[in-house]
Amino acid sequence: MNPEPVIAVDVSTVAPTSSGEPPAPSSTPGVGEPQPVNAGSGRFAGIRGLARWEVALFATFVVVFIVGRVLSPQFLTNYNFFNMGLSNGELAIMALPMTLIVVTGEIDLSVSSTLGLGSSLLGLLWMHGWPMPAIIVVVLICGAFLGAFNGFLVTRVGLPSIAVTIGTMLLYAGIAEILLGSNIVSNFPSTYTNLGVYGVPGIGLSYSTVIFFVLAVIFGVVLHFTPFGRSLFAMGANQEAAIFSGLRVKRTKMILYIVSGIVCSGAGILYTFRLSTAEYDNGTGLVLSVVAIVLLGGVSIFGGKGSMVGVVFAVLIYSGLLDALLLTGFPQQASGIVIGGLLLLSVLVPSVPEFRARIRAGRHRLRQQVPEAVIVHSGSAVRPLETSNISTRSGQGGPSI
């Protein structure tokens, strides 16, 4: 019993090192290459900062998994990996389109409600005897429409996305309640609900985990290596500039919201099959975890910064940490302390150098610039200058004396 987990430790700490470390440095030239014209020193500084952030995330990831192994011998087992992926798969999948949206400087808080609505619609149609493949298609189309509605309000009506998606979060959750009421649908065929019981043959991870990794690669390539993806950073960094340089900001954001709707309703399908229950409140509250993961992954809430590698590591840290806490008997509900603490750290740590610089600059300014401050603020020092320089306005300057 003992030797096996020890080998597993080696595998998990070595394997991610070989597979996880290259992306961070290799993404740096890859990111810089497509637009050498714009690559100023500030840009490179930003990218270097991000790369450092990903290294920090990677280190945290390693620490979490080592500590998890120390705390519980069951942590690094295939069975546990399966469970870990199973319980966080949908969350992780929803974080991918969210990353793209946050990079453009917008946000989508309706993701968990889209999941819930997809789940309810699935249950409702199944209750009415529809064939499952047709239901899945309908649910995904419905998701596209939900996303398009968000996108329409944000891009065409021009409303702030945070307010819009708080509204549609309530609206979509409400529609899910209206659709399904207090019904609980759970008689799904086992060919589908096996998603929550068996892993992908040969890999051992849950289907949702494998789907997440495949989608993460696709979203990562789109975000970092296509003109479309690069344009998202431009929009997030400076929307005005993006519009004036001819990027189709509205259409791009519309596409992102539609993609988010489709992906999240797809996550709703996975969620329903995993629990083999369709309920109106499926997925309630997941949105905050999704946002927490994306921000922990180093994506700036103001847009323009972030990387898919960071978000993937954030997903791994999040699920590893929660699982380790669960195995050690930490009250599951109280794990919010740890997630919240992590989120807080993830925004505080990057702001420390700036904070210190500001304090130093503040002291410097106090010492050095006192005379200038006197000239600017005292009216008597400025106004005589004005009146003496501009002789024609002396009449108007009268009242000020």
Binding site: L153, L159, I166, L170, G174, E177, V338, G341
Partner: protein, 345 residues
Amino acid sequence: MSSQDAALVPAGGSPQRLVDMVFRLREYGIIVVLIIFIAVTTSIQPRFLGEQNIKFVLLNATIYALLALGETMVVVSRQMDLSVGSVLGLSAYVSSNLFGQVHGIPIPVVFLVGIGIGFVCGVVNGAITAFARVPGLVVTLATLYIIRGVDISIIGGGEVVASSLPAHFSAIGSDSVVGVPYVTICVAIVIAIGTYSLRSFRAGRELYAIGSNPEAARLVGIPIARRVFSAYVISGAIAGLAGVIWASFYGTVDSTAGTGYELTVVTAVVVGGVAIFGGSGSAAGAAFGALLLSTIATALYALGVSPFWDPAFDGLLLVLAITLDRGIALRLAAVMRKRTFRHEP
């Protein structure tokens, strides 16, 4: 020339007065919607205006309106406080648990403890947001989790039950004069004071300035960090106060108290006409927004509509409200542009 000026004055005078008028109209608009809603519901279900029902609606709205006051201060300065629900939960549990822990503890002390808990939470939120210059949305998203986690660890599996609370404490929510609970009257006074302070005191005005243009606010010498910090502290203290009132209303306090309140409060604030990116709106408007949401919830019930429709209504209302605000803002900008052109030559 002078006749033209005279003709312009009654139509709204300076652009500033026009803006003021439109925003006041926005608040009256909420009241009109509220009255229409009550009238329609009453005509279908006369018992809607029964004393018992009015009391229920008002009690429900009281907590949301109180939270909305603190949230307004934060939102007006272009920040957001998502931790109010968790603060309310923590304060509700700790303060009401005191009755079981300390025998014969005076009720004012319990209130002070509740407000103190909220105050500390607000200091944490405010200090991180204002002095580390981290977006408040993210900070309070994190403290939403953390404070709830602390709450759950303190409570464990237990709960405070109504029978352990003294009768005087439970009476806070039930004693009323002509159907209006005393506590609602007190909260209404607090909101009136808050609205007045925001509109008329220097610190309040500066919150609007920060929200409408942070860079300009910094250049004119407004202490942004200090103002934002105070807004968070006040919002936290108010959420703590709301927690004690919550405990007296519901009696039974477990670890889910106040879960999800933050979104309802933000909805109430935005429906009440406070711009989500700061700079405009009033606490009174936000309170009416809370009253409207609470009325709708009860009205749906009174009309026999399934309560399942309530969240959808709230969401739709929020989307409609911000769409309307956007429309008003665009029209207003167009009108003001025209007016300045007319004045120029």
